[in-house]
């Protein structure tokens, strides 16, 4: 309980405090903060206990006030920036919200917050990954040419967001969930639009209205819940099995947050935000609400058509989003699509893991958060230090920035190759699906998606690597990159975590024969050492074979693209899937 208070309170204290701390000490402060919250969350996770508590009536009034203010703010932004969709949705939300507040009962006698294993797991992800990204964000935002107050504001929003995230994964009340959901939307909106240029504002508004739809789903769910005389609490939903439509509506809100097709465009648009934002909100923590919600609600729709359609839809997104990523050139957009893709996998897995195999999903979520955070931080470093944003500009990057590039490669490898965390997540998923194959024909679909989707991710990442690695015959020496700089702290920690991910998994109680781990680790890490000792000193050098011709022969990335027709079909499929989930709930 105290630890939870620290997790929620400390960010708020720091957010207030950082306005007085001199900027150059900020990173150290953040580092200490990060250490504390990581420790707290780890302690919470390792001491399994479930406890719950409620807020007083003062707080429930405050919640209503904040909610109303928030919706009014959205309304104002929508009207001010003349975005029809935003203000219409805000009006709808306002109407629904007042309807809810007028009809909701005052006391259902349920706890507002329940902290269970799932919440504590999410705390670890949010706090360890999130706070380290904040440490990095101090360096990043310092490189922007904006006023110091704006910089502080940026950090303030980031830290407060951590607090909100800590609350949302612990909340039990749907109304609180709605408020916090909207708060994350607000954070997303503020941070995407942070650079205040035309494209940022456009994309921020897009993220806003799409996420508002999620809010609308929640409100409708609550109203329906009241109509069916169900308490608007998560545990209430779980008790009453007939409330499938309520559950599916909330799951849909989660899917919107997780940017599943057809709502994928907001996450892609979010890539114009500063890199730490993409890292913290749009890959490591906020979007993880999608698998979180699905997993939380999983018992309610186990073996129903809703669960099946969410699973099929998730595996569909796993494949399709990866294919979309293949056509992109911007590094962050590629990461964005691969995030959507992996979220699809997590969502699909969340519906089937059940209680016994939750750890598989934990492995996927946790190591995905770390891998993606690492990759996004490196994208930021490349952008600021090496002025590289697109993968087609990455020509010979290994030569120019060996350290960052090796870390990118580790980031890629951890998602696709043995013996790293996310890879094991996928491996265990395959095993799990295989062992349950006979129970349900839709598992075949998931299995196919797992097989194909992994292959697509391999294609996607190692296609990116094509230019990273290419190097002229004549330049042998690698440029040196300063290894100990403040931006490198968080990436180092992430890299370290990833490299020992297999041991972490073993430590977490899952059995993997050590020979596999050690063998493949050896195979991978022998390469840099071998290069270091320089075994081929006396070997003659040759130039590349160019058919005997002289001159420059350029190489380039491969790109793939969908035709328009297919894109439309995919969009339609996404919409149909959402309708199917809702209909499944109704029936």
């Amino acid at each position: 309980m105290y630890l939870f208070t620290i997790l929620v309170g400390l960010p708020i204290v720091l957010a207030v405090g950082l306005w007085w701390i001199p900027f150059r000490f900020l990173q150290a402060f953040m580092f200490v903060f990060s250490f504390f919250v990581s420790l707290c969350s780890a302690l919470l996770f390792l001491s399994p206990s479930t406890f719950s508590f409620s807020l007083g009536s003062f707080f429930s009034t405050a919640v209503i006030v904040i909610d109303t203010l928030l919706i009014l703010y959205f309304l104002k932004e929508g009207l001010g920036l003349k975005d029809k969709r935003v203000w219409i949705l805000a009006l709808i939300q306002l109407g629904l919200f007042s309807l809810v507040e007028s009809s909701i009962g005052s006391n259902y006698g349920r706890a507002d917050f329940i902290i269970d294993e799932l919440s504590t797991f999410m705390f670890t992800v949010i706090n360890i990954v999130g706070s380290l990204i904040v440490v990095y964000a101090v360096w990043y935002i310092d490189k922007e040419s904006i006023s110091e107050n704006r910089k502080r504001f940026f950090l303030c929003v980031l830290i407060l967001f951590l607090s909100v995230m800590n609350l949302i994964v612990a909340t039990n009340s749907l109304m609180l969930f709605f408020l916090l959901f909207e708060l994350t939307t607000l954070a997303s909106y503020l941070l995407i639009g942070f650079r205040k240029n035309e494209i940022s504002i456009h994309n921020a508004l897009k993220a806003l209205w799409m996420n508002q739809i999620g809010g609308v789903f929640i409100l409708i769910a609550v109203i329906l819940g009241i109509f069916y005389k169900t308490a608007p609490y998560f545990d209430g939903l779980m008790e009453n099995g007939s409330m499938l439509v309520v559950v599916s509506l909330i799951a849909m809100a989660g899917l919107v947050k997780g940017a599943q097709i057809p709502f994928d465009s907001w996450l892609l648009g979010a890539m114009v935000a500063p890199s730490p934002v993409s890292a913290i909100l749009h890959s490591a923590t906020m979007v993880k609400l999608a698998p979180f919600v699905i997993l939380k609600l999983a018992p309610a729709y186990e073996h129903t058509i809703v669960g099946q359609s969410i699973m099929v839809f998730g595996s569909f997104v796993f494949v399709i989003a990866g294919l979309y990523g293949l056509s992109r050139d911007n590094f962050k957009e590629i990461l964005g699509y691969s995030t959507i893709s992996l979220l699809g996998l997590m969502i699909a897995m969340a519906t089937i893991v059940g209680n016994e195999h939750k750890d598989i999903l934990y492995i996927i979520i946790f190591f995905h958060a770390i891998s993606k955070a690492l990759l996004f931080l490196l994208a930021g470093i490349l952008e600021k230090n090496h002025n590289v944003k697109n993968i087609s500009d990455m020509d010979g990057l290994l030569h120019k920035a060996p350290l960052s590039t090796s870390m990118i490669m580790i980031g890629f490898a951890t998602i696709t190759l043995p013996p790293f965390g996310l890879f094991f997540g996928k491996l265990f998923s395959i095993e799990l699906v295989a062992s349950n194959m006979r129970s349900d024909p839709t598992y075949l679909f998931l299995l196919a998606a797992l097989a194909v989707g992994s292959a697509i991710l391999i294609l996607l990442y190692f296609k990116v690597a094509s230019l990273l690695f290419s190097k002229n015959a004549k330049d042998e020496a690698y440029c040196s990159e300063k290894p100990f700089t403040c931006e490198m702290i968080s990436p180092y920690i992430f890299t370290l975590l990833l490299m020992c991910s297999a041991f972490l998994i073993v430590f977490g109680g899952i059995e993997i024969p050590l020979i596999y781990i050690l063998g493949s680790l050896l195979l991978i890490f022998v390469i840099p050492f071998w290069l270091k000792i320089d075994p081929f000193k006396n070997v003659d050098r040759v130039k590349e074979y160019h058919c005997g011709e002289q001159g420059h022969f350029g190489v380039a990335q491969w790109s793939f693209s969908f035709t328009n027709g297919i894109e439309k079909t995919i969009l339609l499929t996404g919409i149909v899937a959402f309708i199917a989930i809702a209909l499944g709930g109704l029936l």
Binding site: P418, I430, A434, I458, S466, L467, K471, L531, V555
Partner: protein, 273 residues
């Protein structure tokens, strides 16, 4: 026995390659090279002056061989089939990165095609592993080889594997990744001398890996295993001699349209019928 098989896998592979060359030549009404020709080639390569483009390229090439050998060793010691497939994947990724690491358009195109080929066959290998799990109840090779032949319960999966064979063995019609008329060998083009020897040996080792997968379908029945391997060996050579090379985009489409569908059907068959 496992030690012996694992250690000498490259040698067996070379021998199979020698037989392969003779058989293919006879199918083309040629006399063909002597049986030991691949060994002579290897000794010849050892004699050459070593030359290289740059270090990383060589190191990745050597690691490709090591990883491949490791996956064979895992196989021979009866390891977990999924790990074996993924260690093999690791080795292919090393080769692809090696191809990318030199600034040669052929090498790059070769690596790109290799990657697309990987995209085509990797899912099917995974599905195949799941198929073994469903028939034999375990992913362990040692369990699979002590069970009754899996080919009986999933003949379609075996056909899917047969479709993959030319792809893995770089034979027509699926040899686009190293098409010598277009890419002069693709990823292996920049290797020479001793370093090409390494790539050459790993090609030989790949043969053993592939036929080991074929052998797996026979379970404990060694005689059936030998029949399956020999049969598929001749089939692959016959197909190689009866087809041209199809383009890489066709390759991906055809493999998905045939082998992938067959693998799914096989799984569906085992699980639900």
């Amino acid at each position: 026995m496992s030690w012996f098989l694992a250690l000498f896998a490259p040698v067996f592979g070379t021998l199979v390659s020698g037989i392969d060359r003779v058989v293919r030549a006879r199918m083309q009404r040629r006399l063909g090279p002597p049986l030991m020709q691949p060994f002579y080639d290897m000794f010849k390569l050892l004699d050459k002056r070593p030359m290289m483009v740059h270090k990383l390229h060589i190191v990745l090439g050597v690691m490709h061989f090591m990883a491949l050998w490791a996956s064979i060793a895992l196989f021979m010691f009866g390891g977990h089939l999924l790990y074996i497939i993924f260690t093999h994947l690791l080795s292919v990724i090393f080769l692809i990165l090696a191809g990318y690491s030199v600034r040669s358009p052929y090498s790059h195109l070769g690596a790109n095609r290799e990657l697309l080929a990987l995209f085509a066959y990797e899912p099917i290998l995974i599905l195949m592993a799941v198929g073994f799990y469903l028939t034999c109840g375990s992913f362990e090779v040692s369990v699979i080889t002590s069970n009754s032949p899996a080919i009986v319960s999933m003949p379609l999966m075996f056909i899917a594997l047969l479709i993959l064979l030319p792809l893995k063995l770089k034979k027509s019609p699926f040899d686009a990744p190293e098409a010598h008329q277009e890419l002069c060998g693709g990823v292996e083009i920049e290797y020479s001398g001793f370093f090409y020897e390494v790539i050459y040996v790993s090609k030989m080792t790949e043969i053993i890996f592939v036929y080991a997968l074929v052998f797996l379908f026979a379970g404990q029945n060694i005689l059936l295993g030998i029949i399956l391997v020999t049969g598929s060996f001749f089939l692959v050579n016959a197909v190689d001699n009866a087809t041209g090379r199809i383009r890489i985009d066709h390759l991906v489409k055809k493999v998905y349209a045939t082998a992938f569908v067959l693998a799914l059907l096989a799984l569906g068959w085992i699980s639900y019928v």
